[in-house]
């Protein structure tokens, strides 16, 4: 393929959210009949760029050209009129409606009286042409995720889109569904459709992309033409090359105390998944006293499920969970927490705080019966204890009266961490504890986790920030597709190796 002029071109797109620049002068061109992979770590700005192209988000500056002509895309409606279609990460389908109804809802040329037969014929026609065979009369809620994705793509094709943007389409797919999707890409390509394929999985990019653009921290950091890319170059580009590699070198740190008892042990722990969750497969994991165990992985590899499993939010289907030498496989959440498990969840607003309740009330939630005084709560004891915790973290003590929902993400994260760390937990399960925090707060969270380690706590640190993991961890695991695919002792890990395992591009021992 040797395209002459790009069908879609974006020039100097810039988009800021507050102080964060999600897209910084981004250029990208897409040709007819190609699969163009947009590769980058989480937060690199890929989704923002795709939403700008689809008119879902308005850029601060920059321009979009379609077939050489400048176009304005203020809302998705205009994008569709221009033949640009997008499949969102979490889909936009209505589970209760049938495949046909979901597709009909999207069509611009739908007559007032819907003729199911006509639409059904078109669905079957496109389905057979591109390998997107779905039963038009089936309710969407009965479809597998792979089939739902087919419906999303069919929707765009029937609405005459020529440029298809797919935001992390493989995130929710099983391996065989991924290869089916790539076959669909091939047949679409052959008919001249252009596909912008957003992902952070290297192996997939190598398998299907004609050209690759790599983004990091809101900028385009490089690109590869057909056949030019190789894995090592991509990994270096994605994770920031040599500077990051240097920071990944083990920092000076005493060898962790050996021979101490394990705080938490998972033995062959598995749990099934619902919907778009990740299945956990046979996890063996031990967290000792006075040890920070890091878990690296791209998002959606099973981090949330792992945290939930340890806290008891979901139960094991196979295997067992041991807490301080006692079988805790069937313990309730309350029992885990009473025994000293602190939990910093992935999404504090959803899982650790009630937005409509005051900060003070949120601080007492999850502390069990510790501050009960008769039928009331001993607010002054609570405030004293929490004040000390904030102090230990060097966080400013927040105002206690406003509702938690009024706080910024970073402030809320500080409150959750202060609460969870207030009572000398035996085990800390922290998912992305420094996400959304400024540099100083992030540093004090890391200091506190280290101090908890010196005090004999076991810490499970789940993060996407490789630098943070390298700095903190005594041991590091890599989670990929719901399985632990690599284990490194401090000083043994290499950036490339970890990056490859995280993206599943090499030697992953998963199904």
């Amino acid at each position: 393929m040797n395209p002459i002029a790009p069908i879609l071109e974006v020039r100097r797109i810039t988009k800021r959210y507050g102080a964060v620049t999600a897209n910084d002068q981004v250029d990208l061109s897409l040709y007819g009949g190609e699969v163009h992979a947009l590769l980058g770590e989480n937060g690199a700005g890929k989704s923002t760029l795709s939403k700008v192209i689809y008119g879902f988000t308005r850029p601060d500056s920059g321009e979009i050209l379609l077939a050489g002509k400048q176009v304005v895309v203020p809302t998705p409606r205009e994008a569709r009129a221009l033949g640009i279609g997008m499949v969102f990460q979490n889909f936009m389908l209505i589970p209760a409606l049938s495949v046909l109804e979901n597709i009909a809802l999207f069509l611009t040329d739908l007559p007032f009286i819907v003729h199911p037969k006509t639409i059904e014929k078109r669905i079957r026609e496109f389905g057979e042409r591109f390998g997107l065979v779905v039963d038009p009369s089936a309710p969407v809620r009965q479809l597998s995720v792979g089939d739902q994705q087919k419906v999303e793509i069919l929707k765009l094709l029937l609405a005459q889109a020529r440029v298809l943007i797919l935001d992390e389409p493989t995130k929710v797919l099983a391996p065989h569904e991924v290869s089916a999707l790539f076959r669909i890409f091939e047949s679409l390509k052959a008919e001249g459709y252009s596909i912008l394929f957003i992902t952070h999985k290297l192996r997939e990019v190598m398998a299907c992309a004609d050209r690759i653009t790599v983004m990091r921290q809101g900028r385009v950091v490089g690109g590869f033409g057909p056949g030019e890319a190789d894995l090592d170059a991509l990994v270096t580009m994605m994770f920031g090359g040599q500077e990051a590699a240097e920071q990944l070198e083990p920092a000076e740190r005493a060898v962790p105390p050996s021979g101490v008892g394990s705080i938490l042990e998972l033995r062959g722990a598995s749990c099934p998944a619902q919907g778009s969750e990740t299945v956990l497969r046979g996890l063996d994991l031990t967290i000792g006293a006075g040890e920070i165990v890091g878990v690296a992985g791209v998002s959606g590899s099973g981090q949330k499920e792992l945290g939930d499993l340890i806290l008891g939010l979901r139960s094991l289907s196979v295997g067992s969970k041991w807490f301080c030498g006692v079988d805790a496989s069937s313990w309730s959440i309350a029992r885990m927490r009473e025994n000293g498990v602190a939990f910093v969840p992935e999404d504090p607003l959803l899982m650790a705080a009630v937005p409509g309740m005051s900060v003070r009330e949120n601080l007492v939630l999850g502390t069990g019966s510790r501050y009960w005084k008769g039928v009331s709560v001993d607010w002054s004891a609570l405030e004293t204890a929490m004040g000390e915790s904030f102090h230990a973290l060097a966080f400013p003590v927040p105002r206690l009266d406003p509702p938690a929902g009024a706080l910024s993400g970073g402030n809320l994260q500080r409150i959750v961490i202060a609460r969870e760390m207030a009572h000398k937990p035996k085990l800390v399960v922290a998912l992305y504890p420094t996400r959304g925090l400024d540099v100083r707060s992030a540093t004090s969270v890391r200091d506190l986790l280290r101090r908890a380690r010196e005090g004999g706590s076991g810490i499970l640190l789940i993060s996407e920030d490789l630098e943070e993991l390298a700095e903190m961890s005594d041991r590091m695991f890599v989670l990929y597709g719901g399985a632990l695919v690599g284990e490194f002792k401090r000083g043994e890990w290499q950036l490339e190796e970890v990056g490859h395992l995280m993206t599943g591009s090499r030697g992953a021992a998963h199904a």
Binding site: L93, E101, L105
Partner: protein
């Protein structure tokens, strides 16, 4: 049971089922768009009193019917302004609308209490009248609203399930965000659903005063609005199943009236409870499966995309 009793119950089931059916159809459209209107009782009262007053004042029951339909549509447009435009809580707004309906209907109807009107004309095809046992009863002696009740339910089904508009309404009730992403206007669709639902509720109220009782009395609906809300659940938000539900509930009411008229030994208080007991039974029986059939976004306020 004697044959006259059975025929009496059947005739009564159809007569009192008619207004239940129109009310249920209206609420079904509204709930399909994701809005719960607990003010249905008030809407029925407005329809009944406006219909009666206009008929009494003009002497034309058709004018009364049209005025009732218009009043129902307007009342629901006001409700829409509250819950769609102002994004007020639907349950609280619905209850407020109900009491508003109590007041408005009492005010409008007060001058006409005791008026004598000529209601909606009724007729019975000759071949049906000549059937044995039928002649002496009111069976098949219906007004236009009753005769077109089943076609009306079929039309509502067709509009909801076979037109572009109905697809949009149902999509909004399931997921306003997805409907919005597909290029629809959720607020406009909800207003349209509310207004057409209000018209049907107005018609339902008018049928009570212009055909069933031929009088106006305060709070004459006696909970029919709430029974209709329960019937929406009973029929699983489906207009055609609502026909069965309306007949069943109309029949329960007719049966208790017939039993009372015949001097049954069961306490009249117990008998009068029958339709409401049946409502409780339906809600209990359907309770668990409700989630499967209810519009996913029912009762939730859509605050826009993002």
């Amino acid at each position: 049971m004697t044959t006259p009793l059975v025929l009496g119950v059947l005739a009564g089931a159809v007569l009192s089922g008619t207004s239940l059916l129109y009310a249920t159809l209206g609420e079904t459209i509204v709930e399909r768009s994701g809005i719960v209107n607990l003010g249905l009782e008030g809407l029925l009262l407005i329809g009944a009193s406006v219909g009666f007053s206009v008929t009494a004042a003009t002497g034309n029951a058709w004018l009364g019917l049209a005025a009732a339909a218009l009043a129902g549509g307007l009342a629901n447009a006001l409700f829409g302004w509250l819950v769609v435009t102002r994004m007020a809580n639907q349950l609280a707004s619905g209850l407020a609308m109900m009491f508003f309906g109590f007041g408005v209907s009492a005010l409008v109807g007060a001058p006409y209490i005791g008026s004598v009107i000529v209601g909606l004309p009724k007729w019975r095809p000759a071949w049906l009248a000549s059937l044995p046992w039928v002649e002496s009863t009111t069976l098949f002696n219906y007004d236009l609203l009753t005769w077109v009740a089943i076609p009306a339910a079929t039309f509502v089904w067709w509009a909801l399930f076979r037109t572009r508009w109905g697809l949009g309404v149902r999509a909004v009730g399931e997921s306003p965000a997805a409907a919005f992403a597909a290029g629809r206007n959720p607020a406009a669709l909800q207003y349209q659903a509310l207004c057409s639902g209000g018209v049907l509720a107005g018609v339902a109220g008018a049928h009570l005063s212009l055909s069933l009782t031929l009088t106006w009395a305060e709070y004459m609906t006696a909970g029919r609005g709430f029974i209709a809300i329960a019937l929406v659940i009973f029929s699983k938000w489906h207009p055609l199943r609502a026909i069965v539900g309306a007949l069943l509930f109309g029949g329960t009411e007719a049966l208790q009236l017939q039993l009372q008229a015949r001097g049954s030994e069961i306490s009249p208080f117990l008998l009068e409870m029958a339709p409401y007991l049946l409502t409780l039974v339906v809600l209990l029986a359907w309770g668990g499966s409700r989630r499967l059939a209810a519009p996913a976004s029912l009762g939730r306020t859509f605050y826009g995309s993002d």
